[in-house]
Amino acid sequence: MIEFNNETLANGVGVIRPVGRLNMVSAPHLGANIDALISDGTVRLVVDLAGTDFIDSSGLGALITGLKKTRQAGGDLRLANPTAQITAVLEMTNLNKVLQPVSSVDGAY
């Protein structure tokens, strides 16, 4: 199963760390985490994928939904530390054309 170790940095950026597999079962949990941060007023988010072993299309869908929601709230959503599998999936779906991951959480904003 998946766990989320979230924190808010000093500059107000929210970091979400999904640990485990981000698939069709766990994708709704990611969505719920993003929603909770937005409703607390944290709209600049980084999803740190260092601990995410696997992502499928449902997981990508949840990331896109998160991007849409943070943008609508005046913020943004960025990706950091993708593993090789995640990079491959991002490239296969062309999603890297829209959401390009950065190599560290600090470099996201």
Binding site: M24, T65, K97, L99
Partner: protein, 656 residues
Amino acid sequence: MTSRQLAIRLIVLATAILGLNYIIWRWMVSVNWDAWWIAVPLVLAETYSLLDSLLFGVTMWRYRQRDTPPPPPAGLTVDVFITTYNEPLDLVMGTARAARNIAYPHRTWILDDGNRAELRAIAEAEGIGWITRSEDWANRPRHAKAGNLNNALLATDGEFMLILDADQVPDPRILDHTLGYFNDRKMALVQTPQVFVNVPPHDPLGSQAPLFYGPIQQGKDGWNAAFFCGSNAIIRREALMQLGVMRYVSETELALNKALRTADKVVAKARRQLGPGQERLAAALSTVAADLRQVRRELSEGQAIADVTYRFQERVDTVARNLVAEDFAALHAELNSIEGLSRTIDVDGSLAVVDDVALDRLSQRDWSPLGAVETVRVLIDSVNAEKAGEAQAVMPLATISVTEDMATCMRLHSLGWESAYHHEKLADGLAPEDLDSMLTQRLRWAQGTMQVMFRENPLLQRGLGLAQRLMYLATMWSYLAGFAAVAYIAAPVIYLILGILPVQSLSNEFFLRLIPFLVVNQILFLVVGRGVKTWRGQQYSLALFPTWIKSVTSAFGNVFLGRDLDFRVTPKTLQARKRLPWHLVRPQLIAMAVLVLAAVVGAIRLLLGQGDLLGSSVNFVWIAFDLLIFSVVIQAVRYPGYDAWLDSTKKKEGNP
């Protein structure tokens, strides 16, 4: 290859050779160019029909009957979706209970687009899930059934989903008999037949489609192009979600490129309109123009769209803020004048179809410089990765058409996924029982198909193989029959009344070339149909010519001119009526009257010694055939619905 398959291929080859032998001769030698106004439409109609039968031949070439799939492994997660909008509660619950009783472990959900509290209460009391649209859909395009399913996709998490219309009562074995196909990792979709139980054997409304849910689907299946037909199908979630993510990316790119082009025009126009003494505004516009160039540069360098548009917004916001600070009141007035802009962009919902007309109109408006800056900001904002106009950023089921199934299936195939047609009745469906509902339903299918043809023509889709393209084209092509039907009505009428023959002469050669083709073509139907009743379908493919023509013109108007489709949901219950609905088939009745009149005039001309016996006889036969085709609408109008038909049949049997 089985001997049956060999026979089919030989007949297909014979049809193709004889058909080409006829049509080439028709074009080269036999067209009566003096009467081109009827001769050309007729030969075009014949060419249309020949291509139709060639496409049918291609479909049959790889005709395949699949073996029974292996039983599915245990432990797959499956959601069963029952889509409903306004159907009666007992109809929906009847289907839902049957769905709950499906043997393979699963969860059952009613997807209630009508948001009915009563339905929710009944369903949940029986342990059936109930899903309605989330708040995100408020004031956004709803996309009918596709939107309903897309909403449910994000609210559930099964690996597979079975989609059922509210009037398709599933067999308990439906999942056990189909999930095994998904052992193939590339299998995205399994379609089973739609068969209707409330239809008498003579099928007056042409509800059953035994040729389609049989040889045609099996033929398409041979080319890995079995169609998704909206209900009674099982889909792999991963395939749909991948489709949604990839569409999101390409639609975002497309919309951004369009918006950039329009933004350039807006800025250029505003700069031309600058008067003397407006240096400050000129500077602001130059900044925006430079920012736009930077956006293009960054995109071409491969930077991510979200980052590029985000930074662009920030820069333009700064420009706008500076201007605002200096002249708040003036800008405020400008802002009010463009308030409607984002709405304009959302007209049709999907960003992929950002309306070119609307964009042009925007760039042609007399934007003053301040307005231009804000316009550009709103333009880019509207396409930036957030898709504010849509309820969901990811829309796995295609929303470009009122029939979401064909477009979705074509996109799956072009991503390399496979589909299967499972030829076993695993649900009992209800067909419309009156002519009005039937015509509404056929019009909707035809319109949906035409929308896909205009918006995503299969011949132009990357990723599809040639045969797959032809399989999609074949179905679209068949909906163009309405125009051919008009020529087939007009030609004999014109001959018998005016004596004008659209062919050079009715020589022996004409019959020697035509008749073998017609015979072989019918043999092909007999062999592939193997006793299924195809006559009703043949009748309706010509007799509904007004519906087919309307579908083409209305879909054209919708796709290219931004007009409303005038779309109604098919009523699932018998519509009450007081009189027989003859008005619904007025064009067909007029056509029949004209045909009869022409036959009478032709007979009189013959008696007066004015007509040619051979020519008249051929045209009499032709008219008789047309009348036989069109006669189907008379029994359709008189059909009282299934229950009333059952009652009257019983009475007849009771009093012999």
